[in-house]
C-alpha cells in the first residue's frame, strides 16, 4: 500500500498552501529516518506516530451493509507530514496533519477534509490509549488491556451532509506486510514500514443528510510510514483491498508509469498468515470507464492473481466516489464477483 505515500505527496504538492514544504520529496530523505530491513514494527509502540519519518498515515476503509439492505462505504484517514524530522512544542512543530473522511451511498459520495498543525493539540496520535484525531474526527482504542490497542476501535467523522460512528472489533491478527513489515516498493529499493489489520467486524451507525442508518460490515486498517518512497516517473496508481466471502483478504496495487507499470500484492489467509506475491504476479485491467466530476476513470476492473487462481471483476457501489479534497482522487467501496466473490475498496489516483 505504498501507493498511498504517493497519494499523500501528490495531495500535498498540489495543495497550494502546502506545496513548498514537500518539494524534493522524491529525492533523498534529507535528514529523515529511512526504514531498515530486519527491524520489524513493534506493538503497541509503533501504533503511534514517527515524527522522524517524513510521512505516515492511519487509514481505514469499511464496507458496510445498512439495516435497509443497501451497501455503504466509509473512509477515515489521518495523514502526517513532517517539514523537518523532529517535534517541537506549540506552533513551531514541523508536523502537519491532514484528515480525509468519506461516506459512500448508492446515490451519493460525501467527502471532507481537515488540516491542522501539530504541537497545539488540534491533531495527532497518542498511545495508551491509542487515539488518532484531527478536530472532531477520531479513531480511538476501545480495547481493554492487555489486548492490543488496535484490537477494538471507535471511529467518528462528520462533514457536510454526513457523519458516522463505528465500533470495530478485530477478528484476526495484525498483518505485517512485505518482509515482516518492511515493504519494498520499487526496483530502486524504496521501502516503507507497513502493517494492516484487515479483519475488523464493524457495527455502528451512519447519518446521511440527517437520517440515521444502523450498519454492520467489515473494515480494513493500514498504518504506514516512510521517508522517500517515490519513483519520479510514476503518474498514478490503482489500489485494491478485497475481503473475500471465504475469509481470505487480498491487497494489491499497480503503479502506472510510462512503461508497463509495477504491480504488487499480498494474499492474506483467513487466519492472518500473509503470502507476499512477487512483483508482476498481480494483473489488473480496466473493464469500463466513466466520466466522474470531469475525470475519466475506470469504474470496473478485472483483477487476477493466477498463482492463487483468482480472477475477479469489481463493480463500484457508486461510480461517483470522487474525493473532493484539495487534490482529488477516487476512493470507494466495490462488490467483487468471479472466482472469489466478496467486497472491497478501490483507490485510483492520477486520472
Amino acid at each position: 500500500m505504498n501507493v498511498r505515500l504517493l497519494l499523500l505527496m501528490l495531495l500535498m504538492m498540489a495543495a497550494p498552501a502546502l506545496a513548498q514544504g514537500f518539494a524534493g520529496l522524491g529525492g533523498d530523505a534529507q535528514g529523515f529516518a529511512v526504514p531498515r530491513r530486519g527491524q520489524a514494527p513493534q506493538f503497541p509502540r509503533d501504533h503511534g506516530a514517527h515524527p522522524d519519518y517524513r510521512i505516515e498515515w492511519w487509514y481505514l476503509t469499511a464496507n458496510l451493509k445498512g439495516e435497509d439492505g443497501k451497501d455503504y462505504g466509509a473512509q477515515w484517514t489521518l495523514f502526517r507530514s513532517a517539514l523537518a524530522p523532529e517535534e517541537k512544542p506549540g506552533w513551531q512543530s514541523p508536523q502537519l496533519w491532514m484528515g480525509h473522511a468519506a461516506l459512500t451511498t448508492g446515490t451519493r459520495h460525501y467527502s471532507d477534509e481537515r488540516l491542522a498543525r501539530g504541537g497545539v493539540g488540534q491533531a495527532g496520535v497518542t498511545l495508551s490509549p491509542f487515539s488518532a484525531a484531527i478536530d472532531d474526527w477520531s479513531m480511538t482504542s476501545r480495547a481493554a488491556p492487555p489486548a492490543d490497542e488496535l484490537s477494538a476501535l471507535a471511529i467518528t467523522a462528520a462533514g457536510e451532509g454526513f457523519s458516522y460512528a463505528l465500533a470495530l472489533d478485530a477478528r484476526g491478527p495484525l498483518v505485517r506486510q512485505g518482509e515482516e513489515g518492511y515493504s519494498v516498493k520499487s526496483a530502486q529499493g524504496q521501502a516503507s514500514y507497513y502493517y494492516s489489520q484487515p479483519f475488523y467486524a464493524v457495527t455502528g451507525a451512519i447519518a446521511v443528510e440527517g437520517k440515521d442508518i444502523a450498519v454492520t460490515g467489515q473494515a480494513w486498517f493500514d498504518h504506514e510510514w516512510s521517508s522517500q518512497p517515490l519513483s519520479k516517473d510514476q503518474t498514478g496508481w490503482d489500489w485494491f483491498s478485497f475481503h473475500f466471502d471465504a475469509g481470505a483478504k487480498l491487497m494489491g496495487f499497480r503503479l502506472r508509469d510510462a512503461g508497463g507499470g509495477f504491480t504488487s500484492a499480498t494474499w492474506i489467509n483467513a487466519d492472518g498468515t500473509p503470502e507476499p506475491q512477487p512483483p508482476g504476479a498481480l494483473e489488473v485491467s480496466p473493464l469500463a470507464w466513466a466520466e466522474v466530476k470531469g475525470h475519466r476513470v475506470p469504474v470496473q476492473w478485472k483483477v487476477s492473481l493466477p498463482a492463487k487462481g483468482i480472477e475477479v471483476t469489481t463493480a463500484p457501489v457508486n461510480e461517483d466516489a470522487w474525493m473532493e479534497t484539495q487534490v482529488a482522487y477516487w476512493e470507494g467501496p466495490v462488490r467483487i464477483e468471479g472466482t472469489h466473490p466478496g467486497v472491497g475498496y478501490v483507490e485510483m489516483t492520477g486520472y
Binding site: P16, L18, A19, Q20, G21, L83, A84, W91, Q122, A158
Partner: protein
C-alpha cells in the same frame, strides 16, 4: 466647406493665443484639482478596503471576546474539537526600527479560503519557511521600503496588504507580540458542517460577530474624505467660471466670423456641430492635461494626506499613487461635461440669432438689469435654502449641501451688489473723470462678473477655511496645555517593568499617574477606556464641557464615567445616562470632556474600576508630576535605570509638539488646496481682463480723444481692477464668516464630533484683502501696459471703423 468652416472657427484661437491658453489652463486646472482629490480619495479608499479584506475580515463572521482582548488558544482547540471550522488570528502592534507595524498572525492550514488573500504556498514564500522561525513577513511594497535596513524576518511582498501591516504565521506572531498561546479572534468559515456543539457550551466567553458592513477605518475617515471632495468640487466650480467666461467671450468675438460663415451658406446645424466638435476637442485636451496635472498634484499632496490620516486615525494609506482608470475617466468626463454645460447657453444663442445680426462684441456684455435681478433672486433663493438646510437638515452631506448653496447664492448676488456699489460711487463722484471711471467700470461688470464671482468663491473659501483652521488651532493649543499638564510621560515595555518603574518613580516624583487603557466596543464602535487616578492634576486641568457637581469624587469612587465630546454627541448622551461597559456592568455618565483631534470615542473611569473590569487592560504608561526644572534630570535617570529608549520617556513639550505636528499636517492639504483655488480665481480675473482689454478700445478711444493720456488711462485700468477686488473682498467677508461658522458649528460637529468656538483673525483677513487686490491689479497690469504701447493711429481707427 466643412473644413473651411472649421478652419475659420479655429483661426480665432490662433489670433487669440493667450485666450486659448487661458481656456485650456482654466479647464485643466479645474480638472486637475478635482482629479487630484479623487485620486487621493481613491487611493485611501482602496487602502481601507485592502485593510478590511485582509484575512477575510470583511466577509467572515468572527468569534472574539466582547471586550476584544486576547484569549487562550485552548478555546480555539476546544471549538475545533467540537466540530467548528474556525481559524485563529492574533493581532497586535510592534515596533521595528522607527516603524510601528500591525502584526497579523494566521494559521495557513485552517485559514478559510475567503481569508487567504496571500498564497503562502507560493514558490517565494513556502509553508515551511512561513511557519518555521524566524518565519516570513508578508508586507506591501511600501512597508518593505520603510523597513529597509531594519532587522526583521525575511520580507515577501504582496499587493493584498495595506501599508504598515504584516501578515505572518500565528506562531511567529505570538512570539513577536509576547503572547504565547494567545489569540485575538477566530475566523468562522462560511460553510460549517452543521453538527457542531453549540458555541455557548464550548466557549461561553466568546461572542459571534457578523463581518462589519463598513470598516471602522472608512467610517472614521469618511468625514476627512468628504472634506476633500467638497474642496475638489469648489475648485472645479471656480474653474468652470473661467471656462464659462472664456467660452462666452470667444463666442462673442467670433460673431463676425459666424455671420460671414452663415452668409456664405454654412447651414446653422453644421455650424453648431462644428462648434460642439471644437469644444469636445478642446475639453478633451484640457481634460487630459488636467488629469495628468491632477496626478502630479495628488502625488505631491498624498504623503501629507497619508501622514495626517495615520496621525489622526491610525489609517495606513500608501504614500505613492497608483493610476486608477476610474479617476482618469471621471476627470475627463467632468471636464467635457463642464465645458459643454458652460457653452450651452452660447450655442443656444447662436442657434436663435438672426442670420445677419450685427456683429457687436459689446452688445452681449450689456446684460440687462432684469437679468441681474433674476440672478440675484436665484442667489437669494439659494441662501434661503442654505439657511433652511442648516436648521432642518442633519448629517455631513446636508452640511456640505448647505455650504455649497450659501457659496453659490452669494456668488450669484455679487453682480447686483457690485452694480449697486458702483452706482453709488458714480453718484458720489463730482469730477467728470471719476464719474466716467465708475460708469465705465459698471459697464464692464457683466464681462467681469463671472471672474469676480469665482474670486468671491475663492476668497470666501479662503477666509472661511482659514478662520476655521486658526480657530481650531487656537482652541487646540489651549486645550493641549490643559490636557497635558504632567511633566513626563513614560511608556514601559512589559507589565513587570511597569511595576518596577512605578515603584522607582513613586519615591522620586510628586505623583505617578497611570495612563492605563483598554479597548472595548461601545454602541457598536471601537472605544478606548482609560483609567485615571484620583489626583489634583485632573481636577485642576481637565476641561469639562458639562459635568455633575462632584464629578471627580464620583469617578474616584467608581460611581460614574466620563465620555469625550465626540462620543457623547454621536450617541446623544446626557449626564446620568448608563454607559454599558461590560455585560451587566454599566455606570452613569458623570461628565463630558473635550477631546480635540481624536476621532474615536473615549471613556474615562477610575483606574481601580478599569483594572477590575478589564483585567487585560494595557498597564504600561504613566504620567509623572514633578517640578518642571527637575524633569529633565529625572527623565535621564529613569532612562538609565531601566535602559528605556529615548522615545519611551518624553517630556510635555515633546508630546505637545507631536500633537501639534499631527494637527498641522492635517490641515496642510486644506491649505494647499486653498492656495490652488485662489490661484485659479486669480487666473480667472486675469483671463477676463485680458480678453476684455482687446475689446475696450472703442470705449477708451473717446476718453483718450478728449484728453486723457494713455498712461492715465492705463493707471485707471489697474485701479479699476483693484477697486473691483476690494469690493469683492467686502462681499466675500460676510460669506467667509458664514462659511467659518458653518464649518465650526455644523461640519466639524458632524464630521469629528466636536464643536469649536470661533475666533477672528483680522490680520489674516487683511492679508487676504491685500492678496486679492494685488492679484486683481496684477491681472489688470498687463492689459494696461499693452494699452500704453498702443499707437495713436490704432485709437483713431476706432472712429473710422464702421460699427
Amino acid at each position: 466647406m466643412l473644413t473651411q468652416g472649421f478652419v475659420v472657427l479655429l483661426s480665432h484661437w490662433r489670433r487669440h493665443k493667450l485666450q486659448f491658453a487661458m481656456l485650456l489652463l482654466g479647464l485643466a486646472l479645474a480638472t486637475a484639482l478635482w482629479s487630484a482629490v479623487q485620486a487621493i480619495n481613491g487611493e485611501a479608499r482602496a487602502s481601507y478596503a485592502r485593510a478590511a479584506a485582509v484575512v477575510g475580515q470583511d466577509r467572515l463572521e468572527q468569534l472574539a471576546r466582547p471586550d476584544g482582548t486576547r484569549f487562550p488558544q485552548s478555546g480555539y482547540i476546544a471549538l475545533r474539537k467540537a466540530g467548528w471550522l474556525v481559524s485563529p488570528v492574533i493581532e497586535g502592534e510592534k515596533r521595528f526600527g522607527a516603524e510601528r507595524l500591525r502584526i497579523l498572525g494566521v494559521d495557513p492550514l485552517t485559514l478559510p479560503s475567503e481569508a487567504a488573500q496571500v498564497n503562502v504556498g507560493a514558490a517565494d514564500i513556502g509553508l515551511q519557511r512561513f511557519i518555521t522561525p524566524p518565519g516570513v513577513f508578508i508586507v506591501s511594497a511600501e512597508t518593505a521600503e520603510r523597513l529597509k535596513g531594519v532587522e526583521t524576518p525575511p520580507l515577501r511582498i504582496s499587493d493584498a496588504l495595506p501599508p504598515g501591516m504584516v501578515l505572518t504565521d500565528i506562531g511567529i506572531a505570538q512570539g513577536l507580540l509576547d503572547a504565547p498561546g494567545q489569540v485575538s479572534r477566530l475566523l468562522v468559515a462560511a460553510k460549517q458542517p452543521g453538527h457542531a456543539r453549540p458555541l455557548a457550551e464550548v466557549t461561553p466567553d466568546l461572542v459571534r460577530r457578523a463581518p462589519p458592513e463598513e470598516s471602522d477605518l472608512s467610517r472614521l475617515t469618511g468625514s476627512f474624505h468628504l472634506n476633500l471632495t467638497a474642496f475638489g468640487f469648489l475648485a472645479f466650480a471656480v474653474g468652470l467660471f473661467i471656462v464659462h467666461s472664456a467660452i462666452g467671450l470667444a463666442f462673442e468675438q467670433r460673431r463676425p466670423a459666424i455671420r460671414t460663415l452663415r452668409a456664405v451658406g454654412l447651414p446653422l446645424g453644421v455650424l453648431i456641430m462644428l462648434m460642439v466638435v471644437e469644444l469636445l476637442v478642446l475639453s478633451t485636451a484640457a481634460g487630459l492635461i488636467g488629469v495628468a496635472l491632477g496626478y502630479g498634484v495628488a502625488s505631491l499632496l498624498l504623503p501629507d494626506v497619508a501622514a495626517s490620516l495615520r496621525g489622526l486615525y491610525g489609517a495606513e494609506v500608501p504614500g505613492t499613487l497608483s493610476v486608477r482608470p476610474s479617476v482618469w475617466g471621471l476627470g475627463l468626463a467632468i471636464a467635457v461635461a463642464g465645458t459643454l454645460a458652460s457653452a450651452a447657453s452660447r450655442l443656444w444663442r447662436i442657434a436663435s440669432m438672426p442670420l445677419l445680426a450685427p456683429a457687436r462684441p459689446r452688445a452681449w456684455s450689456l446684460a440687462s438689469e432684469r437679468a441681474l435681478r433674476l440672478q440675484a433672486a436665484g442667489g437669494l433663493l439659494l441662501l434661503a435654502m442654505a439657511g433652511l438646510t442648516v436648521f432642518l437638515g442633519s448629517g455631513l452631506v446636508a452640511g456640505f449641501a448647505s455650504l455649497g448653496a450659501m457659496l453659490l447664492g452669494a456668488a450669484l448676488l455679487l453682480p447686483i451688489m457690485l452694480s449697486a456699489l458702483l452706482k453709488l460711487g458714480e453718484r458720489l463722484s463730482t469730477r467728470v473723470v471719476a464719474q466716467w471711471f465708475w460708469a465705465d467700470t459698471r459697464q464692464q461688470l457683466p464681462g467681469l462678473s463671472l471672474a469676480l464671482m469665482a474670486l468671491l468663491l475663492a476668497l470666501a473659501a479662503n477666509a472661511g477655511v482659514g478662520t476655521m483652521v486658526q480657530s481650531f488651532r487656537q482652541t487646540f493649543v489651549g486645550w493641549l496645555d490643559q490636557r497635558l499638564p504632567s511633566e513626563l510621560y513614560v511608556t514601559t515595555r512589559s507589565l513587570d517593568e511597569s511595576r518596577k518603574v512605578h515603584d522607582w518613580l513613586s519615591s522620586r516624583s510628586d505623583a505617578v499617574l497611570p495612563i492605563w487603557n483598554a479597548d472595548l466596543r461601545l454602541f457598536g464602535q471601537p472605544v478606548q477606556v482609560f483609567g485615571v487616578a484620583d489626583h489634583a492634576t485632573y481636577r485642576d486641568h481637565w476641561t469639562m464641557l458639562e459635568a455633575v457637581p462632584d464629578v471627580w469624587d464620583r469617578i474616584a469612587r467608581g460611581e460614574g464615567v466620563l465620555a469625550n465630546e465626540q462620543l457623547a454627541r454621536r450617541q446623544k448622551l446626557k449626564l446620568g445616562d448608563a454607559i454599558p461597559l461590560q455585560a451587566g456592568v454599566s455606570l452613569p455618565l458623570a461628565g463630558v470632556f473635550s477631546d480635540y483631534g481624536n476621532p474615536r470615542g473615549q471613556v474615562m473611569m477610575g483606574v481601580d474600576g478599569l483594572v477590575r473590569l478589564f483585567p487585560d487592560a494595557s498597564r504600561l504608561r504613566y504620567a509623572v508630576r514633578i517640578a518642571p526644572d527637575k524633569a529633565p534630570q529625572l527623565a535621564a535617570e529613569l532612562r538609565k535605570a531601566f535602559g528605556l529608549p529615548q522615545g519611551n520617556v518624553v517630556d510635555q513639550e515633546t508630546v505637545k509638539a507631536f500633537s501639534l505636528r499631527v494637527f498641522e499636517r492635517t490641515f496642510a492639504v486644506t491649505a494647499a488646496l486653498n492656495v490652488l483655488t485662489l490661484g485659479v480665481a486669480g487666473l480667472a480675473i486675469f483671463a477676463s481682463l485680458l480678453t476684455l482689454s482687446g475689446m475696450r478700445l472703442s470705449q477708451l478711444a473717446p476718453a483718450w480723444a478728449m484728453g486723457l493720456t494713455l498712461r492715465r488711462l492705463a493707471l485707471l485700468e489697474v485701479l479699476r481692477g483693484a477697486a473691483l477686488a476690494v469690493f469683492t473682498m467686502l462681499a466675500a467677508a460676510p460669506v467667509g464668516l458664514g462659511l467659518a461658522w458653518m464649518l465650526l458649528a455644523v461640519i466639524n460637529v458632524e464630521a469629528f464630533g466636536w464643536r469649536l468656538p470661533m475666533h477672528l483673525f483680522p490680520f489674516d483677513w487683511l492679508r487676504l484683502l491685500l492678496l486679492a487686490v494685488a492679484s486683481a491689479a496684477l491681472a489688470a497690469l498687463l492689459p494696461a501696459l499693452w494699452l500704453t504701447r498702443r499707437s495713436p493711429a490704432d485709437l483713431v481707427k476706432v472712429f473710422a471703423n464702421e460699427r
